[in-house]
């Protein structure tokens, strides 16, 4: 597995660090260094709150390689409260039905595992239903 590739994304995967545009104040995730809103350079790091709501979602029953052990799993487009939309799995759902507009928050979870016993275990962000105490 491609360890350097995942290592270099650790700020994004573990801390949801994107960028803020110093010219138009747009928040960017994933980071892309050029602001898609005003076209100017945007390299200032910005840590997102991890709070957002479900914009769309689907539950996958035919898993691709690397995800066989988690099937079925639910992937969502999560609209962060700062503006950007992020693709992420939903977790800790229990019996709760997912709905568009449902408030969610970021947590760190195991994303996938390579096939063999020496394979890399990859961690990163997922989103769970916003906990009651967190809204206080």
């Amino acid at each position: 597995m491609e360890i350097p590739r995942h290592w270099r994304l650790k700020k994004q995967r573990y801390s949801l660090i994107g960028e803020v545009c110093p010219h138009c104040d747009a928040k960017l995730f994933p980071p892309r260094d050029i602001c898609p809103h005003c076209g100017n350079e945007a390299r200032t790091e910005y840590q997102f709150s991890g709070k957002g709501e479900v914009y769309s979602f689907t539950t996958i029953f035919d898993a691709p390689a690397g995800f066989e052990n988690t099937v079925p799993y639910t992937v969502a487009l999560v609209k962060l409260e700062e503006g950007p939309v992020v693709t992420a799995q939903l977790t800790d759902l229990g019996d709760q039905p997912v709905q568009i507009g449902m408030p969610v928050e970021m947590v760190t979870r195991r994303l996938r595992q390579d096939g063999d016993e020496r394979g890399v275990i990859l961690y990163g962000y997922k989103f769970r239903p916003l906990l009651a105490h967190a809204t206080a």
Binding site: Q12, D62, P64, T87, L122
Partner: protein, 384 residues
């Protein structure tokens, strides 16, 4: 102005060809196209392919297919643009002739999906989504389409069964296509009862990935010897790209590259989209058929689903689509799909579509998409 025409066409049946190789399938399609062109030889070969480096462990298809296609020595390269590879290669062939760099360009699309099965096959499809930010979360092209459909239902609230109309049109047309993968009609009941693949998408909302190869020989009109069949010319050609990942788009239900490429191709052909006699669209999922129709301007946003409700999209309808089964029932052989669309549209415009003939077809719109329109290639074809 140089006029570019389709001098020859060839296609093999779409399906699961466990006995056939990548190079073998391509050769079959090439031989048919060259024979159809009456012996005209190409100066350039473009190979459209999406997944061979991963599925078959084979890159450098330009040299391979030229070598095993009896064309060794020719200028040859692979063209890849995800699911739009076939359309992109067709456009490259068109541009090569327009630019005066070739008198005849052979464009072959080939895909060999069944060299891998199951989870490995699903994983290869993930190559076309954003690897760092989508695939790592388990997102696949099918789940992208499911996200689009969920949001579409939320915003516009169409009846769930309405999406079945697109699969039923495709299957009805595939019955009489000997090159189609699924030559069976689909009932509304079977659609309603189909198992869920990635909700809300069910099995019949999704086109089957399959093996296949199709080829066209493009040529300068003025250099053609006496043609043995009616000629079809390319009167409009356009490609547009958009943001790769769904999450980076302003409005996921607006397939902007599809819209832009239709506008440009039609402007070049000096027509409005409504003046075409058929539309080979990219129905890799029923929701993409809906959104493609909306992007091309055949229906307002949120209304495209209505087109499948009253027979408008059938062979005798106002706007026939997927006239040989589309991706849904003819099958979706990845990088070859755009070439199947070109071959099928040429058959329609030549009046050689048999039971699938659209009455008096003289102009066709064909479009293939990479992902949910991260890339779109649109061509206008006309009978000369």
């Amino acid at each position: 102005m140089t006029e570019v025409v389709i001098a020859g066409i060839g296609q093999v049946p779409v399906g699961e060809h466990y006995n056939a190789s990548l190079r073998g399938l391509a050769l079959d399609a090439i031989e048919l196209a060259l024979r159809d062109a009456g012996g005209l030889r190409p100066d350039i070969l473009y190979v459209a392919n999406m997944l061979a480096p991963v599925i078959s462990g084979q890159a450098h298809l330009g040299a391979l297919i030229a070598d095993f296609g009896g064309l060794v020595g020719i200028e040859a390269a692979t063209i890849e643009a995800g699911g739009a590879s076939g359309g992109a290669a067709l456009r490259m062939g068109y541009l090569a002739i327009k630019a005066g760099q070739a008198n005849a360009a052979l464009v072959v699309g080939v895909e060999k999906i069944t060299d891998q099965l199951g989870a490995g096959s699903e994983a290869s499809q993930m190559l076309n989504v954003d690897s760092d930010y989508e695939a790592v979360q388990g997102m696949t092209p099918i789940s992208q389409a499911a996200m689009l459909m969920r949001r579409y239902q939320y915003e516009y609230n169409p009846p769930r069964a309405a999406f079945g109309g697109f699969a039923r049109v495709a299957h009805a047309n595939a019955v009489s296509n000997p090159h189609a993968m699924y030559r069976s009609a689909l009932s509304a009941e079977a659609y309603d009862q189909a198992s869920v693949v990635s909700d809300p998408l069910n099995m019949f909302d999704v086109a089957p990935a399959a093996d296949g190869a199709a080829a066209v020989l493009l040529a300068r009109r003025d250099l053609l010897p006496q043609a043995t069949h009616p000629l079809v010319r390319i009167s409009g050609s356009s490609q547009a790209s958009g943001r790769l990942a769904l999450h980076d788009r302003e409005d996921i239900l607006d397939l902007e590259p599809a819209r832009v490429s239709v506008e440009r191709a039609c402007r070049q052909a000096a027509i409005r989209p409504g003046e075409v006699d058929l539309f080979e669209l990219y129905d890799s999922s029923s929701i993409l058929a809906v959104l493609s129709l909306e992007a091309a301007g055949f229906a307002p946003h949120g209304q495209g689903w209505r087109l499948a409700q009253d027979g408008q999209l059938g062979l005798d309808g106002l706007l026939p689509i997927s006239t040989f089964g589309g991706l849904k029932a003819r099958g979706n052989p990845g990088g070859a799909t755009g070439l199947y669309q070109a071959v099928e549209a040429a058959l329609q415009l030549r009046g050689e579509a048999g039971k699938n003939q659209v009455p008096d077809a003289h102009r066709a719109l064909i479009q293939c998409l990479g992902g949910p329109a991260a890339n779109a290639v649109t061509h206008v074809l006309e009978r000369t």
